[in-house]
């Protein structure tokens, strides 16, 4: 160990010459063990009680490498630093940069900021308040700024505006236009481009676009770049401090060894310690400065993010408050639409029924006409005899046709209105999600799962065209030969169908929500005693269950094999 603590003696120098006792700039012993293989005997030095500055002497030069010991020391220190920085995942700066930063005393020039990581731009830290108003520029525009705005606007459509006289955006409030005019030409042009792009968006989307601009990556990137740059500086300073601490510990250990062994040179090492402490104090001051700058940038970025968050949160809250009742309204509209479809289905069945009855009457009329013909009545007489009836039946057919047309028209109109309201509400439902997405898309580490609100009315069965082919045919020709006193309809009535349906459900173990009561259908306008053919009842039943919002899977299968045709 004592050999290891020997001061460095340059190669090629006579051993007897030893170390100049007054040379306090002799390289530190802990460095020697790295550079030198051969231990050098220690020459006692004169102990001085004063630690005044000694005249600097030329550094001894290593004959082997041609480097002075201080250079060797710097190289070793740089290697240690570079290793530490690499371990931290940061590419180390070049030796020259490191030397300028860590040992400004070696270099004449002022300490520049460390080299940033590739792709990282270190912004100069400014002390002035961030929102200091910019004085309006009188007269002609100044010369363009020498440095282009880096990534100020999104990459897509990042083209420069050729015009030099950028007018404030149209949707910028008048009180804000002067602020826009006060910007330098290039900034105005770039921000003008952003606003122009907003104008190209649908009006309901613009607020989202504006939020995107306010949350724009550039602003956040800029903050982040500044923070990262300053953090890198802090890391470098910390690594340097760590190196100093390590050196300090080694020197202290060496001093202790020297003292234990009674070797000379402890005071020289103490002087080195003193120098090291001064360097440390200087680095600490530098660190404080970098830390202050880092905190300022960090706070600024956080303040900006907080402001945007406040706006976004307020929008999201407002939308949440408004969208809930809106969804209720849209659901009510859908219910109204389902109810309308039920009404239409019931009316269609009634119309089919009335038409069938009219056809049966017509058959009776034809039968009577035939009897009259047989009894010798002329065609004219027959027409005259049945004229009143014919006219009524014709009127009935026309009335039904008119009603069908009118109901179809009204149904279409209501459908369109419901669709219009739904479409008008859609952008707002979408926007709420977009606000959340814009807010969450910041590079700041915020993990919030994107909620996807289910769009209302999706997956609903579209209105179906109601076929009339299934309507039970009229009684065959000549079915009624005599005067029918009371028409006997062999078809089951609604209450019979309802019982059958409920039994059918029970047999399939699917009764529950799909069960139907006669009274419920009566409320919907279907009489309990009304006679219906199976197809008509199934049509009404399907519309009624849909109106009741019974999940389709609970009755579709049962409905399929209920009252099979034939």
């Amino acid at each position: 160990m004592p050999a290891e603590t020997a001061p460095n003696v340059p190669d090629g120098q006579p051993e007897s010459s030893g170390v100049n006792p007054g040379d306090f700039r002799t390289p530190l012993p802990y460095e020697v063990q790295v550079i030198q293989d051969e231990p050098t005997p220690v020459t006692p030095i004169e102990v001085r009680h004063e630690t005044s500055e000694l005249p600097a002497e030329p550094e001894p030069v290593s004959a082997a490498s041609g480097e002075s010991p201080i250079e060797v020391e710097r190289s070793a220190e740089y290697e240690r630093y570079a290793r530490g920085v690499r371990d931290a995942g940061v590419p180390p700066p070049s030796f020259e940069t490191w030397q300028r930063v860590h040992h400004p005393e070696d270099a004449v020039e002022e300490l520049p900021p460390p080299e940033p990581e590739p792709g990282v731009r270190i912004e100069p830290v400014r002390d002035e308040p961030e929102s200091e108003p910019v004085a309006p520029e009188p007269g002609p525009e100044p010369a363009p700024e020498p440095t282009p705005l880096p990534e100020t606007i999104p990459p897509a459509g990042d083209e420069e505006s050729p015009e030099s006289d950028e007018e404030p955006p149209e949707d910028l409030a008048p009180e804000r236009r002067s602020g826009f005019r006060a910007l330098p030409e290039q900034t105005r042009s770039r921000f003008g481009n952003l606003y122009r792009r907003l104008q190209e968006m649908p009006a309901t989307r613009r607020i989202v676009g504006k939020l995107e601009i306010a949350y724009h990556q550039h602003f956040l990137d800029r903050d982040q770049e500044q923070s990262v740059g300053l953090k890198t500086r802090l890391d470098i300073v910390d690594a340097r401090l760590e190196g100093l601490e390590e050196a300090r510990r080694e020197i202290e250990a060496d001093i202790a060894d020297i003292r234990v062994n009674g070797d000379p040179g402890a005071e020289a090492l103490q002087m080195s310690l003193q120098k090291l402490d001064k360097t440390r104090a200087k680095i600490m001051a530098e660190r404080d400065k970098a830390q202050t700058a880092f905190e300022a940038v960090d706070n600024k970025a956080k303040l900006r993010a907080t402001k945007r968050d406040a706006v976004a949160d307020r929008l999201i809250t407002t939308y949440d408050q408004e969208l809930l009742p809106l969804e209720t309204e849209l659901e009510a509209l859908q219910t109204a639409r389902d109810q309308m479809e039920l009404i239409v289905a019931i009316t269609e069945v009634k119309h089919e029924e009335l038409t069938a009855r009219a056809e049966r009457l017509q058959e009776r009329r034809d039968h009577i006409a035939e009897l009259l013909r047989r009894s010798g009545a002329s065609e004219k007489d027959i027409r005259q005899a049945t004229a009143s009836f014919d006219e009524r039946v014709l009127g009935i057919a026309e009335e039904i046709s008119r009603d069908r047309e009118s109901i179809a028209t009204r149904k279409l109109a209501i459908d369109e209105r419901v669709a219009r309201v739904d479409a008008a509400a859609n952008p707002y439902r979408d926007k709420r999600e977009e606000f959340v997405r814009v807010k969450n898309s910041r590079p700041i580490d915020i993990e919030v799962a994107t909620r996807t609100r289910e769009a209302a009315f999706e997956g609903k069965t579209p209105t179906i065209g109601h076929t009339r082919r299934d309507a039970e045919g009229a009684a065959g020709p000549g079915a009624e030969t005599g005067p029918p006193t009371t028409e006997s309809d062999p078809r089951p009535d609604v209450s019979a169908y309802v019982s059958q349906w409920n039994e059918h459900l029970a047999s399939k173990d699917t009764d529950g929500a799909a069960r139907v009561e006669v009274a419920d259908l009566a409320k919907a306008g279907v009489r309990e005693a009304q006679k219906l053919n199976p197809a008509a009842f199934k049509k009404i039943l399907a519309a009624y269950l849909k109106f009741r919002k019974v999940p389709q899977e609970q009755y579709t299968e049962a409905l399929k094999d209920f009252l099979p045709a034939g």
């Binding site: 929008l315 849209l330 009335l354």
Partner: protein, 98 residues
Amino acid sequence: MDNDQSSTNQPQTQAQIPAQVQADLDDLTQQAKQLEEEVKQTGADANRQLDEIDVQVSQAEARVKAATERMDTADKAASDELDDIILEEAQDSTKELG
């Protein structure tokens, strides 16, 4: 008008029509009359119910419109605030570039 014509014509043929057939004819006409009433009633019922749906839709439309207007108002206020933030950013960019 046609009704009137037919009733005018009817007496001329009445004598030639057997009583049973005439009774059938009268019953037929009566049933047609009843059917006519039912058709009218069915149409009236459907239209009345559709009127109710119309009212429901109108009310829902109005409420949805009011809600969207409130959201538009919130948008406008937020838009102005965002303009301020964007302008502030623009000024910052300018300052940082010197």
